[in-house]
Assembly symmetry: C2
Homo-oligomer: 649 residues x 2
């Protein structure tokens, strides 16, 4: 570990960074589509034509019968009517000759009579057909070249080959096609703290170990975008080793990606290596996440190199922002555009001036509104990208977006997925994950945001969600949810339906080393509590009981440390950051912690009637009323499904 | 060839056909998602999870520093201000310890101070840092499990794996993932007339030979939709051989596709084989193209089988209509939906009652309008699918659509492609294909419909196109285009710009066997002419000269046989269907025919001013004014580019 570091990155606007990068590649002749390679058609699906393709054969290659029927001379059919049918003699070079669909038109004939429009005179002798109408010349004939004429343009260059394109190429005589070579991309992960997932799965992790998966994400992106990745083994933080790996990679690849080591931290080698091996063009782009990007070219080949930031979200977005357009350009196709959608942002987004920010959002169609809900903005939270339905870009001259404003979302999903998504905002419970599993089988997607019970009711009031799970205890009545729904949703007809009952209690370390017996121990000096956020039902429950016991919240050490889920509370206990926290039995059980139960609470679903009666939610209601979900929930510790599906009000 | 055939197919509505097919698979337990197979993450991109995936490790697996900086006890920092900074002693188990981003938080610490917010007191001694502000507990710390907590749901089942999903799987400790097995699909081409494209490319084609490419299209479709195709060699029309191939294929595949042999023709074996080997469910669906589809199940395994019609367009659409939804269901994902677009249909579409019809269209954005132009409806014209931007479905209880009505288009392309498409309707010339090549390099797509010169002007009047190529001779003045533009586009400001001059003349067989010397020979009894369609500039040119020569059109044999392109006229001559036709030199040259030139005509582009000045057309104008296009056009026979780019009016 060293403190010899520079503190400052540049802050180059994205378009300026791009301009420098492209200009450097242009000057070395690398900013152009890659050359072609000949491939058999069977291997060419999804590849891009490198040159235009002209037909070498005509299709059909001869005048072909378009029907099963009889080839005739049209002039022989003149005058045939229902009342005065005509007879034509069968056999080659006579007046009628049987042909199957696709057979050549005999040279003496100029039309086909469909077999359905003919009668055999004498089935045995098979000598004549009778027709009751005349045919015009070229009837039911596919003229030579109807589909393609030799010499004609069949496919342009820069065409992404689809199945029917391959058919057309074969049909006009091409057994191979010249497609652009796949761009070769080296992906080099660096970092002494990194271990492979195979190691981790076999040997477990030590504190400080980080599973290396950025190179997996980058190489999968490269593959998805039509490139050919080389995923290098992890290189430890050693300047010379990294430099030599970069030098070797640059010699045989079109692009080098060096992951991590690109922040302004003590292990920042990439920018120095680029300076030593070539030209450093950019170090620090005014984007977020992804700020510490390095752009440059290295070695005599002037191979472009990108220093990709180490945080997983920054890494994946650097791929989308910098690598994808490069690969598309080299393949000769336009950069992939995501489907776009206008949506209402569900809460205020602050964004720093001076940086383009990419915000991950979930998107749901709630009634007439399309709502985008921001996800975690932590650059280390890869699941925020996994769960994201799309991205909202906040331009660098903006300070953010007010709640309720319209934003443009670039979708990661098919827009039709949005229409089959049930949006839940509210209290979280593991059983909602179970529910989402079964919904997937019924063709529904389930988007769930943990906003706490009260947050869920507020979301319903704003029209941001289809339903909210809630377990809000009314201290005055000891009753759950009813009074809150009346207070917060006075004008929205809702159905309040019980989902389940669940055990709440204190989650404590295994063996209960602090000897915690109940809430009254929370005032002890040696007991650190971990709390849930304001508006969470569990927080309301705590406050209710503290009040009953006459304990001032200020006396509870850790009362101000807030987590957003039961599992996060359990993790705080597991890791020793806290000694106990209030939460549900299943969270304690999941992390093999001890549990001191003290209340069985009712956990309801609040569903506006308009969605309760919608097709969208029908599969959810079916599951709640069916036996399967009930069974799997009952198998979990701390749950009671006796009232599952009971309408409260 | 045999005439033992049944004439009648069923006419089962598509939804009823589907119901029967699904019901049969349900009853044999085959209508469900396929089981999983474990794959290393590197091979799982684009595959579908077979089961939900729960985190096995937390990420981060420990409380991690989110910054480069110093780990501290937050209580030690209390009271530090700019005016009263505090000193903290450096070193493990003291008051401050240096950590890199990602390093574990030391067990005695509970916060990180970013290095930028610290000062070294004595750079040599390295004993103290000075801070000017206090930090709250957990500042700049990524708590254990911030991203994923062990036991938490990470990915649902039925998830199509994206690059970031693979990252998340690795991050929570999974080195492999259970993904649905790829559905195995046998593709069996049948037909004695079929040859492979490799044979055709090496040995050429005999009359009656047809290049087999439907199996290439079907197997590419299967691969594209996530299945694993087995492409069988061509099986000749032999009932027993086909039956045995089907039987073998059914034993080791999830689905069998038998191509061709499914019409009601004499080689119709599929339905009989299905009857013999299992259950024939459907023979003939009320769709067009694709009517003679066979659906059934075969052998004791009840393997589903589809008899796919032989015409290439019918074949490819049968894949889209029947195979894709099956594969998607087996993979546990929703059937792929194409992007949808509303458009105005450019001309009247008649459609038979009683059949769902799939009409291929090109789509262009012309000014404020989105225009869908129907392509050839011939089931043998694969290029109609290659060129199609989308499909319009005409339901079976409709007789068609009037011109100008709004239709729903299901797009084969990315909607953004439509915005970069220049729509040309009008006269065709090979040089427009050249132009489209260079436009592709400039990021523009060029959609060109051959409607003849007059058809192009009418299209501009309706607002269906951005430009129209035209070579309409005014018999009164001998001038090209000007009077027609005035007459047909009186209210649209247009730019009339010369593209090129080109040689028109009679296209005749090599060696001129009929001794044709000029238009006056067209009245001879032994000379068969092939004409262009009404409204084509070449037809106008013919009529002008016939009139000058005092020849009545009725006296020209073949005057009523109309083709839509120069190449089609040349093909008619090449194939012996006609002895001569009027057309351009390059068409005669392409097919190595003789050419009797008699007029150099001006070929202009008519461009409404509003598009002439648009960004969309700028690359086209750049090409016309640049040297490259001029050079390649000059290399073709019969062209003169002296006036390329000259504005006429």
């Amino acid at each position: 570990m060293s403190k010899n570091r520079k503190f400052y990155l540049e802050d180059i606007p994205l378009d300026e960074a791009w301009r420098r990068f492209i200009a450097a590649m242009e000057s070395s002749g690398l900013w152009k589509a890659l050359p072609g390679e000949d491939l058999p058609l069977e291997e060419a699906l999804g590849r891009v034509t490198a040159v235009p393709v002209w037909a070498t054969l005509s299709s059909p290659g001869y005048h072909a019968s378009a029907m099963d029927g009889y080839a005739v001379r049209s002039m022989d059919t003149l005058g045939a009517t229902e009342t005065a049918p005509k007879r034509l003699r069968i056999g080659p070079d006579r007046q009628a000759e049987y042909v199957d669909t696709g057979d050549p038109l005999p040279s003496w004939a100029d039309a086909i009579i469909q077999i359905e429009h003919t009668q055999h005179i004498d089935e045995e002798a098979d000598e004549f057909i009778e027709i009751q109408a005349s045919v015009a010349p070229w009837t039911a004939v596919r003229p030579m070249g109807e589909d393609m004429v030799a010499t004609e343009l069949v496919l342009p260059a820069n065409r992404l080959l689809k199945p029917v394109d391959l058919g057309a190429l074969a049909g006009c005589g091409h057994a191979t096609v010249s497609v652009r070579r796949r761009p070769r991309v080296a992906v080099i992960p660096t970092g002494t703290e990194l271990v492979t997932v195979e190691q981790a799965a076999q040997e477990g992790l030590k504190s400080g170990d980080i599973i290396e998966y950025n190179s997996l994400v980058l190489s999968s992106q490269v593959r998805q975008w039509g490139g050919e990745p080389t995923r290098y083994p992890i290189v430890v933080d050693d300047y010379e080793r990294i430099r030599e790996t970069v030098r070797e990679a640059a010699a045989i690849h079109d692009l080098v990606l060096v992951n991590a080591g690109s922040s302004a931290g003590s292990e920042d080698f990439t920018s120095s290596i680029v300076e030593e091996l070539g030209t450093l063009l950019v170090h620090g782009v005014a984007i977020r996440p992804g700020h510490p990007v390095v752009l440059g070219t290295v070695t005599d080949r002037k191979t472009p190199i990108i220093g990709v930031p180490g945080y997983p979200v920054s890494c994946a977005l650097t791929g989308e922002i910098f690598v994808e357009p490069l690969l598309s350009h080299w393949l000769g196709v336009p950069s992939k555009e995501k489907p776009k959608l206008k949506a209402t942002i569900s809460r205020k987004l602050l964004s720093p001036m001076g940086e383009d920010e990419w915000v991950r959002v979930t998107v749901g169609r709630v009634g007439e509104r399309t709502v985008a809900a921001p996800l975690s903005r932590g650059a280390g939270v890869i699941t925020s990208l996994v769960r994201a339905d799309g991205i909202v870009r906040i331009p660098r001259f903006s300070e953010g977006v007010e709640a309720g404003r319209e934003v443009n979302v670039e979708l990661y999903r098919d827009p039709s997925d949005i229409d089959r998504t049930i949006v839940h905002i509210g209290s979280h419970d593991l059983c909602l994950d179970m529910l989402s599993q079964y919904l997937a089988d019924a063709g529904r997607l389930f988007s769930s945001a943990n906003a706490g019970s009260l947050g869920g009711l507020m979301a319903l009031r704003r029209g941001d969600a289809h339903l909210a799970a809630s377990h809000l205890l009314d201290p005055a009545t000891g009753e759950y949810n009813i009074s809150y729904v009346k207070q917060y949703l006075p004008n929205i007809p809702v159905v309040l339906m019980t989902f389940l009952h669940r055990e709440q209690g204190l989650i404590i370390a295994p063996g209960n080393p602090r000897g915690i017996q109940g809430l009254s121990d929370l005032v002890r000096d040696d007991v650190r509590y971990v709390n849930r956020q304001r508006g969470a039902g569990t927080r309301v429950l705590l406050d209710y009981h503290l009040n009953k016991l006459g304990i001032e919240p200020e006396r509870v050490k850790g009362y101000r440390r807030e987590e957003y889920t039961h599992l996060a509370v359990a993790v705080a206990v597991q890791s020793g950051a806290a000694d106990c926290g209030l939460g549900i039995a299943s969270a304690a059980h999941a992390l093999q912690l001890d549990f001191l139960p003290f209340e069985k609470e009712r956990y309801d679903l609040v569903i506006p009637r308009i969605y309760y009666e919608s097709d969208l939610l029908q599969p959810l209601l079916d599951l709640i009323h069916g036996p399967v979900l009930r069974r799997v929930v009952n198998e979990l510790p701390g749950y009671d499904t006796t009232s599952m599906g009971t309408i409260v009000v």
